[in-house]
Symmetry: C3
Amino acid sequence: MSETGAKRLAIIASHGTLDLAYPPFILATAAAAMDIESAIFFTFYGLNILKKDHIDKLQVAPLANPAMPMPVPNAIGVLPGMTAMATSMMNGMMEKANVAKLSELLEMAIEMDVRLIGCQMTMDVMGIKREDLITDIEIGGAATFLEFASHDAITLSF
Amino acid sequence: MSETGAKRLAIIASHGTLDLAYPPFILATAAAAMDIESAIFFTFYGLNILKKDHIDKLQVAPLANPAMPMPVPNAIGVLPGMTAMATSMMNGMMEKANVAKLSELLEMAIEMDVRLIGCQMTMDVMGIKREDLITDIEIGGAATFLEFASHDAITLSF
Amino acid sequence: MSETGAKRLAIIASHGTLDLAYPPFILATAAAAMDIESAIFFTFYGLNILKKDHIDKLQVAPLANPAMPMPVPNAIGVLPGMTAMATSMMNGMMEKANVAKLSELLEMAIEMDVRLIGCQMTMDVMGIKREDLITDIEIGGAATFLEFASHDAITLSF
């Protein structure tokens, strides 16, 4: 790497929950603002993030995670309505702290030329069609990610 | 890093579920095909992946993950038999999309000289013996991984 | 990167469970012992790890994880008391294998000059105050992490 630091940030987003969708976008937009060329590869459950009109509907379950803010017992967390409640609570906490909504971060990422790559194999496995996904992305595979990541990149997976 | 990209791919696999066992093998075999020297370090729950005759028995629970394909309510997902059903469904989706089984990806990784490293500390903690694990691996620790990862590597954790 | 390997290790800890708190500390202290300058950025649920007198109280739920040692059916795992039981079991396995407690690894990390960075945005979102966190840390954001990670670093996220 050069003295002046990494030139790229290459992230894999393999989860499609509300909580784990935030770090890729926050890091990628922060990096883009630092003139670090950024890309996010959306695979497995993470491909949900790129579905049309879906990003602000991502959810988080208050279950199997004793480190949640205001944790509820799992016997309560499994009950109908609790995922909606936890999702609403987390969105409320974000809003109160003036954190942008995921759709705003997505738009910002697109404007900042963050490369958003949907995983072809995941589309095949989950029966997701190109028209199910938003337009401002490209489609690629593991090789697409590795090619980008192999040039002086900070590499992370969420 | 050289102009021609990273020379190595160093992955940590710390989960032993069906869904999270795929990305390390898909990336490592794709990298090996691109002449990137690859290693996967299997630690914590991830060490299960290296147990003898176990890799095709890995499971996924339809629980606490609102981003699953065809999600079921958590109150249903906890019921007996649902983990087996979700596992069978995911294996079926992989097969239908012509994605190799994990045992085939493992064999491919071994043939392509991907280094497979089982975590010694995890063996000690979980009471797993060398003979419980497949033969084509080495045993090592955090230092083994860091030594490999510290030479011009793409580094990821799943 | 130089012939002699990476100079840094930059880790993101975004989960605050017992199981996922271990890898960052084990890797960071191992790296520090190899003269690799290390930092851990604690964000989202991971910020819990830095709460005062909290690190040895982190828990793990025996739920939605079919790869756990001695897995229980999810219908049992959700019952009251099961998270405490799984936590106690995992702590016991660590102790029996002579693995240091998390508080000891934390202390070791501080002594070895591992940079521990609490996420400012997470504090804002979750209403966590500076005095809720231990003293031997700094507070920063995505840019703090990226700046550190962009100089010849092994980068990982747990």
